[in-house]
């Protein structure tokens, strides 16, 4: 039998709400890039049987047409489904400290709110 090789898998699917309005920018080359911050809630029963909410905050980056649509139709509080991959970025601060962040690079953002004029889903 032929030897196996390790496949590349980097897949994330989450549903949440925007914690603020989207921020649209353009790269020097003119590509649209939009950043949104999501709150993803999980509800669970604690040891004493009380319902608790546990919220995870996740930054999502999308590009091109998706970025424009996200910026046009979404706002703080909008519910969305995001599918994409994790990306880490690291840099050095002016003081020489190393920093890094992990965010989701979305390749699909589903709009989960019925809104006049809004497309149900945008694929990149």
């Amino acid at each position: 039998m032929a030897e196996l090789r390790i496949p590349t898998i980097n897949r994330v699917i989450i549903a949440g709400r925007l914690t603020r309005d989207p921020e649209l920018r353009y790269t020097p080359g003119g590509k649209a890039v939009c950043t949104v911050s999501l709150a993803v809630n999980r509800r669970y029963k604690d040891a004493s049987g009380q319902w608790q909410d546990d919220t995870t905050y996740i930054n999502v980056v999308c590009w091109m047409k998706t970025a424009e649509l996200v910026n046009r139709y979404l706002h703080k509080g909008s519910p969305v489904l995001v599918e994409g991959r994790l990306e880490s970025r690291s840099w050095e601060t002016e003081a020489g400290q190393k920093r890094s962040v992990i965010e989701i690079r979305a390749d699909r953002i589903g709009f989960l709110e019925k809104a006049p004029g809004g497309e149900a889903e945008v694929d990149e």
Binding site: I6, N10, I14, R17, V40, P79, L86
Partner: protein, 153 residues
Amino acid sequence: MPELKLANLNRAFLIGRLTKDPDVRQTTNGTPVANFSIAINRRFRSPTGEIKEETTYVGIVAWQKLADLCRQYLAKGRAVLVEGKLQNRSWETEDGQKRSTLEVRADRIEFLEREYRAEAPPHQPETGVAAPAAEPYAEPAADNGKSDDDLPF
């Protein structure tokens, strides 16, 4: 029509290699917890047609039996499949600044290599040593980090 509710969805599937040996400790009440990070490589073609590689580093945390299995079988360079959810981890730096990052809380880790640290001492005489009897494959049941009674091992 009844109102819809937002799906409870937070899932990550990753395959990568450990950047270091896992760091396995016990919490003050004795619960084992393993921390490590994996490197995930992605190859892509740049606009100029060259094949480039980009690496993403993701922190993984595992609890309970899964943490013990990590200690037993994982080491720097090992390939794993991790399934879990994204969560924030925050901490304070020595000079009092708040930082936070995303990590994956694993509820399943599959070891993707057939030779493992525990079964493969470096100078074993060749006496027909078989592959590990059971695939090290772990799936803790509970998400609350408490129950480990009904695990399949």
